[in-house]
Structures are given as structure tokens and as C-alpha cells.
């Protein structure tokens, strides 16, 4: 098992090294124009310099803070509203068309408005992130609770379980897998919202740097930040998977 892991890891390192060498070779010989695609050595240098000056950490910190706060606020609100909908289906029925309209609207279009309302700081980023997270977690909360096994509910009925007992013993644990998949997507979308809003207008953050570097033709910098974003995404998904395994070990 361990030898196998090492072998796969080794294969990936060799693959990446070959890819970087190829890129470097193609750009040094001008078969590819580094003005548009960057150059591996330049990307590495950019990362090195920005880690040294601390600029990268500041940006990463801003983006992460925005993402996590959006996720926390958006998903808490969504869980609360989801429970309300399940408890009072009429409320859901009434609000459904409005929520649908908001849900199908490309939420990033709200960014200019939110920037106007909440300024160039974290507030506007959190607002956009929340607006994305909220609907995803809301629909998974409602679907999760509605999808709870009818057999389990029948059993509770025949046992004479109170609504509170049924909810905490059966409905909630039964809904967690679906809710969790919503939370996982919600976190990824929170990041999307925050980066999007940063690209449009921001003081700091990875998205802001990305927009600045792009507009000044710093392609090495753009590539470096895209790499950072990809790694950040992988880290987010890995964390959620780890959490899911701990929470849902019974699956």
C-alpha cells in the first residue's frame, strides 16, 4: 500500500517535471510566446518573490477570510430557512417563485450593486459569496429532509415518537448526507463568488491581484495565481471529504 502510494507520487512528480521542462524549452526557443502563455521559470520566480514579500499571503488571507465567512453565514441562513420550509410548506410554496427567480439570476451580476452598498472591502465579497452559497445549501437542506426514508418515519409513527424525537433521531441524521453534499458545493461556490467580486473591484485578495496582473500583461503572475487557486480548491475539497468521512462513517 505504502510502496504503491510512493510509486504513484513519484510518477506524478516526473510527469510535472517533464511538463515544466517542455514548457520552458518551448518558450525559450520561442515556439510559444511567453508574453501570452508565460514561462515556467517566470511563474516560479513570481511565486518565490511574492511569498518573500508577503503579498501572496495577504491576498490569500483576504480571499480565504471572505470565503469562510460567506460560507458560514450563507449556509447557516440556508439551514434555518430550509427547516422553516419543511416545517411550514406553505411558506415555501409562497416564496418559491421569488427564490427561483433569484436562483436563476447569475448572482455575480449582483457584485456591482453589493460593491456600491458595502464598499471595496470584505463586506461586498461576503455578500456575493453568501448569495451563491445560500441557494445551494437551501435546496439540499430541503431535499435532504424531504428525502428521509419513509420506512423510518413510519416506524416512528407506529412507535408514537414525538415530532422532536423524530426530527433529532431520524430526520436530521437521515438528511445529513444530502445536506453535506450541498455544503461541499456551497463552499466551492462561496470561493467562486468571492474571487469574482474581487476581480470586479477590491482593495485586496487573489482575485484583485489576478485582475491587476492580467491588465498589465504579467502573464507569469496570472499563471502563478491560477495555480494557487487550483491548489486552494483542492485543499477545500480535501478538507470537506475528510470531514465527511468522519461525520458519515456509517455510510
Amino acid at each position: 500500500m505504502k510502496a504503491d502510494t510512493l510509486r504513484w507520487g513519484g510518477a506524478h512528480i516526473v510527469f510535472i517535471a517533464v511538463l515544466l521542462a517542455l514548457g520552458e524549452w518551448l518558450t525559450v526557443n520561442r515556439w510559444l510566446d511567453p508574453t501570452f502563455v508565460g514561462q515556467p521559470s517566470g511563474v516560479i520566480k513570481f511565486l518565490w518573490d511574492n511569498i518573500a514579500t508577503g503579498k501572496l499571503w495577504t491576498d490569500l488571507g483576504w480571499t480565504m477570510a471572505g470565503t469562510l465567512i460567506s460560507f458560514a453565514l450563507g449556509s447557516t441562513a440556508a439551514l434555518a430557512v430550509g427547516l422553516l420550509f419543511v416545517a411550514f410548506p406553505k411558506v415555501e410554496k409562497f416564496l418559491d417563485p421569488y427564490l427561483n427567480a433569484m436562483n436563476v439570476m447569475p448572482r455575480i451580476a449582483l457584485a456591482p450593486l453589493f460593491i456600491l452598498w458595502f464598499g471595496l472591502g470584505l463586506g461586498s465579497k461576503i455578500a456575493v459569496g453568501c448569495s451563491l452559497t445560500f441557494f445551494i445549501v437551501l435546496s439540499s437542506t430541503v431535499a435532504g429532509i424531504r428525502g428521509v426514508s419513509q420506512d423510518h418515519l413510519t416506524l416512528c409513527k407506529t412507535l408514537g415518537a414525538s415530532p422532536v424525537t423524530t426530527f433529532f433521531q431520524v430526520t436530521l441524521p437521515g438528511a445529513v448526507p444530502v445536506i453535506f453534499s450541498g455544503l461541499r458545493l456551497g463552499l466551492i461556490y462561496a470561493m467562486l463568488g468571492v474571487i469574482g467580486a474581487e476581480i470586479i473591484a477590491s482593495e485586496k485578495g487573489l482575485g484583485q491581484s489576478l485582475a491587476y496582473l492580467g491588465s498589465t500583461f504579467e502573464v507569469n503572475g496570472v499563471m502563478a495565481l491560477l495555480l494557487v487557486l487550483a491548489l486552494l480548491g483542492v485543499a477545500v475539497v480535501r478538507t470537506m471529504t475528510w470531514l465527511e468521512k468522519r461525520l458519515l462513517h456509517w455510510q
Binding site: H152, T154, K157, T158, T165, V170, W250
Partner: protein, 260 residues
């Protein structure tokens, strides 16, 4: 016989859904205390509906009277235990947690429920599996846990809706043997819905044959096989096979009437 000495007393029960679709027609069925009665019949003959009426899951809106332990049927009656076709174990609870669930909901103190659940798991042959999650158990083992959960509550009347319907043939025979043993020991009344005629003959004191559209009773056959029984011995008993053949002919006559 007075109504209170009966576990279930259904007299001339009619039931229709949506006012027109008649599900049960003039069903009269008495289950005595300690008696094991099976309901057999084709799909849609109303046997599960009758069971759900007794469990209070379906409201009795038609003519006739129905009492369970002398009272109108209601959900959550502690006198009644209900078991479904699928195991309906909570996948997030261990075998022990599932076996305790019914008692916990009905307010049995935790320590007492745990003690009783452990004893019941041992009785159904699952000693050593207390901490296993359902995903780690076979279908048969899961249904054993469900049996433990049902019997642990100690309700004097059990309503069982094809509890072994989803099992393979061999596992089914093992669980029928287990059910025979548990019933011999606890002596509660059982109303048992099944598709399987040999199962019905093996476990019951009486088999009631129903037919569909509308659901009604066409035969009520006493199963005079001595107890304690074992599935293995029954297979060798010619009378067992006679009763089986008798049930078949009743079912078949129900079909031919229906077709004609």
C-alpha cells in the same frame, strides 16, 4: 367472546379510498390473545391495508367496527409493535442502538433498554455484533436486528408486514425458525402479512386468504400443526403439505372467480 379478550376484532369492516375505490369489503377477522394469524392473497387484496388499519396508519373511515386490544386503533399504541418488510434499521446506529430504538422512543430508561437489547441480540443470534453498523451486516442479520427491536419492546400484539419478503430462500427459512422460537417464548398475538404460502403455514395458527377488488376474506384455515415447530421437521410432515395445497386451491379459486 367479548371484544377485550381479542387482540384484534374487525367486524364487517369496509374501507374505500377517494370514496369510490373500494379497498376492503365486509372484512370480519378476530385474532385471539396469543394467536398467530397470517393474511395471504394477491397483491392489492388489501392485506397490508388491513394491517395498517390496525396500526392506526390508515384511518378507518368506512362502515364496520375495528378494535385493537379493545380500543380504537391509534398510532403509537404501546400495546402494538409494528415491523416492516424492509429492515428499516437506521444506518447511523449500531445494531445495539437500533435494537434499543423502539424502547427508547417509548420511554424505557436507557440502562434498562440497553440491557434488554443486548439480551435480545443474543437471542436472535447476534451476540458479538452489538457495535456493528448495518452496512457491515447481511440482509438476514439486519432483519434479525429488526426482530430484536420489535420483540424487545414487549408489545402484546405484533403487526408484521412481510418481514422476510426481501430475503433469499435459505435466509428466510432460518428467520422463520427464529420467529417460531421467539413466538413460542413470548406468546404474543401476531397478525402477519405474507406472499409466501409455505411461510404462512409454517408460522401460523390460522391462515386467512384474501382476494382482491374489492379486498375480502375468502377462506379462514386453521393450521393444526403441533407446536413447538421447526421448519426442518415441517418439511417432512405430510400434513404441512396438505395444508399448503389447500391454501393454494383457495387462492386459485379466488383468481378464477376474478377472471370470470
Amino acid at each position: 367472546m367479548s371484544a377485550t379478550s381479542l387482540a384484534i376484532a374487525a367486524d364487517g369492516v369496509h374501507l374505500s379510498f377517494d370514496g369510490t375505490n373500494q379497498v376492503l369489503s365486509d372484512v370480519t377477522l378476530h385474532v385471539r390473545q396469543g394467536e398467530f394469524v397470517s393474511l395471504v392473497g394477491p397483491s392489492g387484496c388489501g392485506k397490508t391495508t388491513l394491517l395498517n388499519l390496525a396500526a392506526g396508519l390508515v384511518a378507518h373511515t368506512g362502515k364496520g367496527s375495528l378494535t385493537v386490544g379493545g380500543q380504537a386503533p391509534r398510532q403509537g399504541n404501546p400495546q402494538v409493535g409494528y415491523m416492516l418488510a424492509r429492515d428499516s434499521l437506521m444506518p447511523w446506529k449500531t445494531a445495539l442502538g437500533n435494537a434499543m430504538f423502539g424502547m427508547e422512543v417509548r420511554g424505557v430508561p436507557r440502562a434498562q433498554a440497553e440491557e434488554r437489547a443486548r439480551a435480545m441480540l443474543q437471542e436472535v443470534g447476534l451476540a458479538g455484533f452489538e457495535n456493528a453498523l448495518p452496512k457491515a451486516l447481511s440482509h438476514g442479520m439486519r432483519q434479525r436486528v429488526a426482530l430484536a427491536r420489535t420483540f424487545a419492546m414487549g408489545s402484546p400484539l405484533l403487526l408484521m408486514d412481510e418481514p422476510f419478503g426481501a430475503l433469499d430462500a435459505q435466509t428466510k427459512l432460518q428467520l422463520e425458525d427464529l420467529l417460531l422460537r421467539l413466538c413460542q417464548q413470548y406468546k404474543q398475538s401476531v397478525l402477519f402479512v405474507t406472499h409466501d404460502l409455505s411461510e404462512a403455514v409454517a408460522v401460523s395458527d390460522r391462515v386467512v386468504v384474501m382476494t382482491s377488488r374489492p379486498g375480502r376474506i375468502v377462506a379462514d384455515i386453521p393450521i393444526d400443526l403441533p407446536r413447538p415447530r421447526s421448519i426442518r421437521e415441517l418439511q417432512k410432515d405430510p400434513h404441512f403439505h396438505e395444508l399448503y395445497a389447500q391454501l393454494w386451491s383457495h387462492l386459485e379459486s379466488g383468481w378464477s372467480k376474478h377472471e370470470g
